[in-house]
Structures are given as structure tokens and as C-alpha cells.
Symmetry: C2
Subunit: 350 residues, 2 copies
């Protein structure tokens, strides 16, 4: 039901996925009246899927608390997440309200035992290939241990998606030296270096321009700056696209040039296409949930579904569990107790 267009986009998107991932089976959750006509129009989707009619749908404007109050147990969003919990589904994909999806996912699937907070991970195209950036907006702020958790989660995702053995990980920081604050980032760097995890190459700090360069496979930051980096990059790409269109339209020479170079421009457009890397992945929960852009089209939603498929195929959750165990086994006891102290402080609101 989710996204700006609902089943008018999501059902045709599944029809595309069937061609490319014929072994995939769907469970489709939605309002009967809105979904059925689209399933009738795409009989292949109806055949490859089970439709589960639901009483209500969370709207894009619902606040997370409202969505939880009204939509728990019975909304299509809740039921799709619950299918992951019960094992009926391997992954949940939604183009719906991000805040509601995260709130319900946390409530239903719960955060993994040794993780304090979930993160949203984005796949970010870069000059080498693609990278993972997290957290891009699940929560604001993160202490050093949460940043280390994010590094482990993101690293497992990079291994599952990019067939890397030991992805490189960088902590996002600012270039200015001796700057005050952000002790958390420095401390997280020390922890990652000291534990020397066998499934990760810890690179050190990276800056904002390293994301596009592809300096590392995984960029770790807290949700406020991660969200701002993501949106700023999207804005910059659109801005340059607009400059390019204007430049190619200005003179007859440019227009002729454009006609000649058209296949090249089409290729470039594809490279810059945010739909292709569409989908934020909720990591750190007992189950995988993929959030597709609300405003996406069929190709974008199909990409989000395929992203979910690939992560399940590559056993992302199992990797995360074993990586966390390795990390905690290597963590010196003193740090374990530091962590408890930090938790106590947090509970006391200090």
C-alpha cells in the first residue's frame, strides 16, 4: 500500500521482479479494494504471490506513534513485518512511511540481543562501484559502541551484497584537527582498531568526499549527519542534472551535440539514477526490512525487492549474528563494563 502511488506501482514492480528472479514468491499485504484490481491486471503476480487482505493501511502522513496505536496487529504494514517474525516471509519490503515502518519493525521484530539501536543503511554508488553508508536516519546521535555496532552491521551487508571477504570500513569525521567533541568517533576508531576483527578491514576516518570516491566499502556515522550527507548528495546530483539539461538546451550546437552523444547521456542518466540503488535497509533487528523510496516508480520498487532477495540469499542475518559474537568475544572485559556504565548513565538520563 505504501509510497506515493500504492499498488499502482508496487504490483507492476513485482511483475518485473518475476522476470529477473523467477524463484521469488510474494506475500502481498494491502486493502482489498485498492489491491485486487491491480492483481487482476497482473495475473503473473497473483500466481506468484499470496494476497493477504488487511483492514487498514498506515498513511504516509501518520506519525510513528499514531501508526503504532492504530495500525498495530492489523495494518498491512504490521502484517508484512509480522510475516518476517513468524517465518512466513524472509524479508519485508515497503515503500511506506519510514518513521512508522521503523517504529513497527522495532516493536515487532525487536532489536538483536547485543545491539542497542537499529540503523538504516543506504547503498551508495561511488567511483569504484557501490558502498554501504549507515546510519542514514534511524536515530540521532550514537555513542562509540553504537558506531561499532553499525560498522559490524554495515560490513555484513557489504559482504552479502558485494561478495567481498573483508570490506573496508571508515568512520565519517571532519578534517579539521584538534577540533572539540566527537569523542565517540575517536573512541569507536580505537575499539575497531584494537579488536582487529577478521571480517573487516578498519581503514580509519573518512570525510564527506570519500563517500563518492569509494575510499571504503562501508561508511559509518550517526543518523543525523548520515541523513544530511545522503540528502545533500541527492540534491547535488539533481542540481548538476539540471545544469546539464540547461547547458544542452541553450544553443543549436549544444542540441546537435546532445543528439550525437545521446546514448552516452542515457548511460550517464542510468549511472545517476537513484532508483537503481533505491532502498534503505533496517539493520540490527531480528529480521530484514527494506524501505523503498516513497516516491519511487516500478523500477525503483523492483530494485528494493531484489535487494531484499539478495541479502536473504546471502544469509545476511546469520553473518551479523556470528560477527557480533566474534566481536564480543574479542572485546576486553574492561570495555564490556564501560559499556554497562554507559548504559546506566543513559538510563539515568545523564
Amino acid at each position: 500500500m505504501g509510497g506515493d502511488h500504492g499498488p499502482a506501482v508496487t504490483v507492476p514492480a513485482l511483475d518485473r521482479v518475476i522476470e529477473r528472479r523467477p524463484d521469488l514468491r510474494f506475500r502481498i499485504y494491502g486493502l482489498e479494494a485498492e489491491t485486487r484490481p491491480w492483481l487482476d491486471k497482473y495475473p503473473r503476480v497473483a500466481t506468484a504471490g499470496t494476497f493477504v487482505p488487511c483492514e487498514i493501511a498506515v498513511s504516509m502522513s501518520d506519525k510513528p506513534s499514531q501508526a503504532l496505536r492504530h495500525g498495530r496487529w492489523k495494518s498491512s504494514m504490521w502484517k508484512a513485518i509480522e510475516a518476517v517474525k513468524t517465518g512466513e516471509a524472509d524479508v519485508c519490503v515497503s515503500a511506506g512511511n519510514t518513521g512508522a515502518l521503523m517504529a513497527m519493525s522495532k516493536f515487532c521484530l525487536r532489536t538483536m540481543a547485543s545491539i542497542e539501536r537499529p540503523a538504516i543503511a543506504a547503498i551508495w554508488p561511488n567511483l569504484r562501484a557501490e558502498g554501504v553508508v549507515l546510519d542514514v536516519g534511524a536515530t540521532i546521535g550514537a555513542d562509540s559502541h553504537q558506531l561499532v555496532d553499525f560498522a559490524i552491521l554495515g560490513c555484513a551487508m557489504a559482504r552479502a551484497l558485494f561478495s567481498l571477504e573483508k570490506p573496508s570500513v571508515g568512520l565519517l569525521n571532519v578534517g579539521v584537527e584538534e577540533i572539540k567533541g566527537q569523542e565517540e568517533v575517536k573512541e569507536a576508531g580505537r575499539l575497531l582498531r584494537d579488536t582487529a576483527l577478521p571480517f573487516m578491514t578498519y581503514h580509519g576516518f573518512v570525510e564527506g568526499d570519500d563517500i563518492g570516491k569509494g575510499t571504503v566499502d562501508v561508511v559509518v556515522t550517526e543518523g543525523f549527519s548520515g541523513n544530511i550527507a545522503l540528502k545533500t548528495a541527492e540534491g547535488t546530483a539533481r542540481q548538476i542534472g539540471a545544469y546539464l539539461r540547461a547547458a544542452m538546451n541553450r544553443t543549436w550546437r549544444a542540441r546537435i551535440g546532445y543528439l550525437f552523444a545521446r546514448p552516452a547521456f542515457d548511460r550517464l542518466r542510468e549511472k545517476m539514477d537513484v532508483r537503481k540503488s533505491n532502498g534503505g535497509v533496517f539493520l540490527g533487528l531480528n529480521g530484514i526490512v527494506v524501505k523503498s523510496h516513497g516516491g519511487t516508480d516500478e523500477e525503483g520498487f523492483a530494485a528494493a525487492v531484489e535487494l531484499g532477495y539478495d541479502m536473504v540469499r546471502n544469509r545476511l542475518l546469520d553473518s551479523i549474528k556470528s560477527d557480533l559474537e566474534t566481536f564480543h568475544a574479542r572485546l576486553p572485559r574492561t570495555i564490556g563494563s564501560m559499556r554497562e556504565n554507559a548504559q546506566e548513565r543513559e538510563e539515568q538520563g545523564i
Copy 2:
């Protein structure tokens, strides 16, 4: 002396400035042996400027504390800043070490009476024209009052540079609602709305992609996320530039197209040229200091000098002073005491 190239770039840059701003006079601070040959090569610069030979130069790798220890009173960087303090110069422009320049500027010029912390403001090209974004890295973190200070400083700069009467101001935030933390941003929004300043149109929150769109004239954030936004945008622009070059080089058709559209590409390159909007401006000090990119070329350094010139011509410092007075006159007394409490808390390290 500053930047990756020293006088080899800065002196020829001044020669360019002379053509465009013939009424500008320079005071040039540097090591005799390195600077003199360049002044001999550019006699116009020697004529339009006074060369002040200095004993030492701060290096790009000096830490701010080292630079202050070794370079105070006698380095070319210090002496250039001091010239602003004594009134011999109206503005100081340097391509040197950012951390050292900020540390020395704070030490020499001091923060303005009612400002807690200085900020670095960047000029950011957007789809409408240009905007001001601050803080892009002076300090990490900012409370609500510091964010309001930044809004006033950035607004005065936008008025001085873009001939706007009432620039619009947005606070950078993330889109997700009911997200925890960043109370400072919400509180800053309330303060800006309640004081309804006559020289500013407070727009509300903006997200990362609004910077490139040009939704507002001034985007306010704290230094960590501001620095990450700036670097991420630079990285994305370079990334797309690389994609574009590769696309135009791939086939003979694309190459022919490129030849036809070449003037359009040149125009685009100019649009995307970071040199043109080169220069971070230190705001909130008793004097204006412009930081040019260290790696910039002649045109970039010239742009930074002209930026300084324009701000002085438009009496930026006077605007800031009178705007701050207006703001404090409108600030209810209760909030003034809140501010004192906040300062007390900070001093006690809470």
C-alpha cells in the same frame, strides 16, 4: 605563504584582482626569500601592495596549538590577522592551514561580545543562485543559542553579498518526524520564530537536498554536519564529473557530440567550478577573515580576495553588530537567563 603553492599562486592571483578591483590595496605578509621573486615578476602587485617580510610561516601540517605556540606575534599568518585588528587592513585572506588560521583569528581578533563561538560560512551555488551555509567546520556541536547566532551572522553575510533585504533562513534537520534528540534545532527554530527579526525571513527546517535546490538563502547547522554536507556535495560533484567524462569518451558518437556541445560543457564546467565559490568566511569575530581552499589556483585565490572585498564594501561587520543588538533587544528576559544557565552548565562541564 599559505596553500599548497604559496606565493606562486597568491601573488599572480592578486595581479588578476587588480584588473577587476583597481581600488583595492594589499598588504602582503610572507617570507622574504620566497615572496620577493614573485613580486619582482608581478610589478603591478608590488606597486598596489605593501610587502611585510615575516620571520616564519605556519605550515599546512602544523597543529593549531603548535602554530599558536611558534607562530604567534611573528608568523605571516599572525601578522596578516593582526593587521585587521589594528585597522591597517579591512579583511585578511589566507589559503593556509584552516585550524591554525581559526585558532589565531580567535586569539587575536576575539569573538564578538554577544557571540559564543565563531562559525565558518561557505558560499554554496544552488539552482536559484547562491546561498550561505554555516557552520561548515569551526566547531562540533552547537546549542540553540549558537544556532541562532549563526542564523544572524549568515543572514548579514547574505545581505552583504547578494543584495537581499530579508534573506530567508532554514535550519538543517532530518526529515524523520518524532526522532529523538536535536532538541537544539527545534529550540533554535522556536527562538527565531518568536523574535521575528526584521532583517530575516525565518523559513523553518530544511533538509540536505534543500541546499542545492536553493530553498533558502541561508542554511544553518552545527559544524560537524555542515562540514560533512559540504564535503559530500563536493565529492558528489566530482563523482558526476568523472561519470560525464567517461560517458563522453566511450564511443565515437559521444566524442563527436562532445565536440559540438563543447561550449555548453565549458559553461557547465564553470557552473560546477568550486574555485568560483572558493572561500570560507570566519564569522563572529571582531574582524573578517577569509579562508581560501589550500589547493586552489590563481582564479580561486582571486575569488577569495574579491569575496573579502565585497563584504567589506557592504559593511558586513556593521550589519552584524546592529543585527545582534536588535536580536538581543527582542529576546525576552527569561530566555536571556536561560542562556546564562546554559553557560554556567557548560562551564561546569555538564
